[in-house]
Structure formats: structure tokens, C-alpha cells
Subunit: 342 residues, 2 copies
Amino acid sequence: MSRNLQIVLDRRPTTLPIEQDFVEREGEIPEAGPGQVLVRTLIVSIEPAMRGWILDAPNYLPPVPVGSPMRSFGVGEVVTSNLEGFRAGDLVVGFTGWQEWATMNEPEIQRRIDPDLAPISTSLGVLGVTGLTAYVGMIDIGRPGPGSTVLVTSAAGAVGSAAGQLAALRGARVVGLTGSGDKCRQCIEYFGFDAAINYREEDDLAEAIRRECPDGVDVFFDSVGGATFDAALENLNVGARVAICGTISLPPDGKAVGPRIERRILVKRISIQGFLATDHFDRFDQIIAEMSVWLRNRKVRHLEEMAPSLTDAPAALVRLLEGRNMGKSLVRVSDRYQKDLS
Amino acid sequence: MSRNLQIVLDRRPTTLPIEQDFVEREGEIPEAGPGQVLVRTLIVSIEPAMRGWILDAPNYLPPVPVGSPMRSFGVGEVVTSNLEGFRAGDLVVGFTGWQEWATMNEPEIQRRIDPDLAPISTSLGVLGVTGLTAYVGMIDIGRPGPGSTVLVTSAAGAVGSAAGQLAALRGARVVGLTGSGDKCRQCIEYFGFDAAINYREEDDLAEAIRRECPDGVDVFFDSVGGATFDAALENLNVGARVAICGTISLPPDGKAVGPRIERRILVKRISIQGFLATDHFDRFDQIIAEMSVWLRNRKVRHLEEMAPSLTDAPAALVRLLEGRNMGKSLVRVSDRYQKDLS
């Protein structure tokens, strides 16, 4: 119990990361300082936002320092607590990083979870930041209703699949954009979307969206940006809402160019809102309570894939950024996770 | 009383209109059909939106047909009424067009005005669609407050000057963008802006905005688009609101390109909303009541320039689109206007 396996950012990529940008390191198990907890990491979460976190480009969080463990949400079991309100045995979600042991201050802890309510892995997915992102973007910003048409990017992914299902719960017609025939089928058969478009097979994406959304698009939930954003914009109805939670197709240096959208925004009275789930933690309890009920009632379904050990984390990230994952991407860190589930 | 002087669209411009795109014509004085009023036009309004109304490009209203009187808001005096609720002598604002006599159906009439409340010309400006545009864009969408910094384009113009003053009423620091030293002085000395930038004298507009808005921009009220939009976006704070009511710098064919903004929208959690005052006529009475009080108390000031006869309308439009007007641009159509003011 004297080692702390860490996956550390070894060099800063300029575009998409590769596995070799990360390196394994054995650190010491840290001690909980005043106001800190020491946790044993059970699972970490792999997310598209990580691409931005490791780049030296303006972002909403400072870049992960080279030589530090990769920033990551994770579930940890509290081993030692010097923080009021937490005690050994508590399960918490927070910024554990890619490491077996982590100390966290109060701001780095997102919340405590109850393992009896749902599998703990869901606290990193549909009952975690993933669910919060889907809810804020779709329900609060998108505001779909009966008769509206909703278009969702990365539709078979963790956030997109949840967002689409929330729109369906509100009575909307839901169309997904995704990158394979398998994912299209998943969207329709498992997540209950009304239609899905495999963008890799379309020469003219705007035309494909027009085909599947003959009444135009009222809500566009976008995690992609770029040419996908343009194609969707061409199909937006008067008064449409666009929620932007990611720009995975864009180079992060901000130098990409594209069609100017100001005139279309005006003529169609469109609203476009960028948002980050991390700004909405004050609503976590309310939103997760709603999502839990839907999950239990099978009104919202989720998928996850779990890599078996912490050393798989870089490969899982590359796989995610290449769009090869299906559902929420997670990495098991401790064998104790098995016990917690039993 | 048998002639009806009209200014008719003679050919459709492809970019900015010139005077020769319009021609004078003598029509018959029409008769009010069932459900119509016949009005004698007193004043017509010249607006930036007219550039879009005469082009063959997607817009929120169909293009003005070649050979028809130019579409225009105007004040008219009802001469004959076959419409319940209106009678001879009433003053109404509506789509009179550029003509001495006009029939209007109910949807073409915006509202009746009371000449005792304020000069009737204000019903086409600060107490009309101009004021409604400023209010919806600044108060509803921009939501400025004490301590926020507000940047306004076309700041010496009718809409921009009103929008800036509304922001100041809410306690914001207000910075105007405008096209001459005279207009800068007007913004500061007459309209009470905190600072003004003459964009024609700046090599680097983003840098100039940074200089005058050292704490960044929280609300951007934009009627310009293009390079001005880009320069403002570089200075937006986290959570900033952008209200777009015009795109006068952009070619209307939608083919302009520029920096992609999706990533900036996300990272700064910006919201961008296009809007048209014409969508908000249901709030006219409430908003104009508030604006009237401010106008009477000199909390909001306005400027207007009035061309002396209907045949001046094309030149007034060209002047406006070249940015040479100061304040709200109007054209007197009937001498009766003088009497109404006396």
C-alpha cells in the first residue's frame, strides 16, 4: 500500500492527444492535510473536454501542468478525512485525477454519493456531470416541447444520448447525428430516437438534416461545432435555440474560419448559448433526483464501457476522441469497485 | 386631391441601394376597402432594415416587389375608415409605404397614437419601433446592471443611442462605437455615454475596445456584425450577452466568412440572441409607457433629422446607409404635419 500509480501528462499535444503524451509514474500515497480528504480512487471518467484541458489554449480551466497527473473526475472512497462532513467509507465524486490515491480539498469534491441508489459508475455519467450537461443544455436552454424537432450531435455518446432522451420525454421529435451505422441503430433502437444520420455517409450534411427534419430544427444540441454546426444552422427554424457544450471538431487555437452567422441569427431570431455543467453544480441535487427517477423507470437509458485498469486511461481517451466508444467511457482504478457493486 | 405621389422601387440593388434604384410615380388615391382605413401619410421613417427589405435574399419579410411603393413605417391621419375602432382624424403608425396616401388593413396598422403625449415624430423613433428595439435588445436580452460594461454599435444612431441610455439607466458603464469624432462627442455629451470609440480611426478595433473597456464587456448590443462583431467578441467576459438587431456591415447574400465563434461561445459561456422588434408588438404599450416617462424626465434623450419632402426619401436612405445621418432619420410627407405640431 505504499505506491500511488499515476498517469501523468508527459508532453503537451498541439492537436489531438496520443497515448504517448502520457506516462505512468509511481508516486507516494499522499496524506490528508487540514481540510482535506484522502481517497482511494475507484473509477475515473474519460471525457471529450479532456482534449481542451491539456492544451495550451484559452479555456475555462487552466491547462493541466506537464508532469502532473491528468485532471479527471472520479469516484473515490474516503480513507482519511480532515474535512467536516466527510468520514472514512464515504463515496465521493470529484477531481481525483488519473491516480490511485488522491487528496481533495472541499472545492475539488463535487458531492457525496449513495451507492444504494444506483451503480456508482452512474455518478460519473447519466447521474453525474454527463446528466447535468444533458439536462441544462436540453431542458433549460433548448426548451423542447411537443411538436418541436430536436437535433443532437454525438447522439450515441453519453451526453448526446441523454440529451436526446430528455427531448423525447418532453414530446419532441428527436434526430441524432452520429458516426456509424451501428451508432445510428443504437440511437433508434436503444435510446428511442425518431431518426439518426450517419454523417460519415452523407455528402451534403445540410441536405441530410433537411431530409430527416422536414419541418426544420427548433433545438440544436451541439458538442461538435464546425461544418456540423453550419449544416444544422441552415435548417434552423425561426426562434430556434442552440445549446453549445463542446466544439470537438474545431482546432482549439481559435483560428478556424467559417461562414459568418450573424445575419442568420438575426433573420431567424436564433439564440445560441454556450454552457458548462460546472457552472450549474448548485442545481445538481434537483437535476440528479429527476434523472434518477427517469433512470429507474427506464424513461432514460444509458450505456457505458469500462476499461479494466488505470493504465488503460490514455488509450480510452484516444478511443473517445476518435469516436470509437459507445456510451459513457470509464476506467476502473481499484478492485474495490467490484466489491462495492456486489 | 387626385394624385398620390409614390416613391417606387424601380430596380433591385445587389448591394447598397442608390437613389436611382427608386423612381417617382403618380398613382390614384386609393379607396378604403372593407376592413381598411385610408390614411394621408404625414411622416415616413428611414431605417437600416430597408437595405434588407429590397434585396432578393432570405429575410424576415418578403422582398419589396419592383414597381411597388417602398415599404416603410409612417404616421398617417385616417381620412376614411371601414375598420372598427378607427375613425377619421385618428393618427396611426403602420406600414404606409413611401406614398402620400395609403390604405391599410388591420395587420398593417401597428397602433394609434396620441399627439398630445409627445411630438408625433417620436412614434417612429424613440417611442416607436426604435425604442422597442432598444428596450428588447438592451433590457430584456442584454440585462445590464450596476457594474457591468456595455458596448453599443451605431451608438449615435437612433437605436444605439437609446440602447446606450437604457443601459446607463440600469447603472452600467456604457461605451459606444461610432464613425466620426462628432458622433463620439454626441454620444458622450448629449447621450451621456461614458466613452466612445471612432472606429474609423482605429487600426485595431479589438485593442481599442480593450482600452475603453478594461474590465471586459458584459453586454454587446450589435447592429453591425462582421469585423466589429469579431472585435467585440474578443473582449467579452464570461457569461456575456450579445443582442443582434442588425448586420449592416455584412453582404446580405450570407456568403461572408469570418473566424468561427463556437469555441469562444463555449469557453466564455456567451449567449447570442437575434431579435426583431416586430416580434414584440404585444409589449409595445408597456414599453412605450416606460420610455415616455424617461423621455419626459430627460432620462432618455433623442435626436432626429427630418427631410422636407417625400421625394427626398431615397437620398435620406442612402445617407443613412452611409452613416451620415445623426439620430433618427425621418421624411416629412404632408404639410399637415406642421399643423399637427402647432
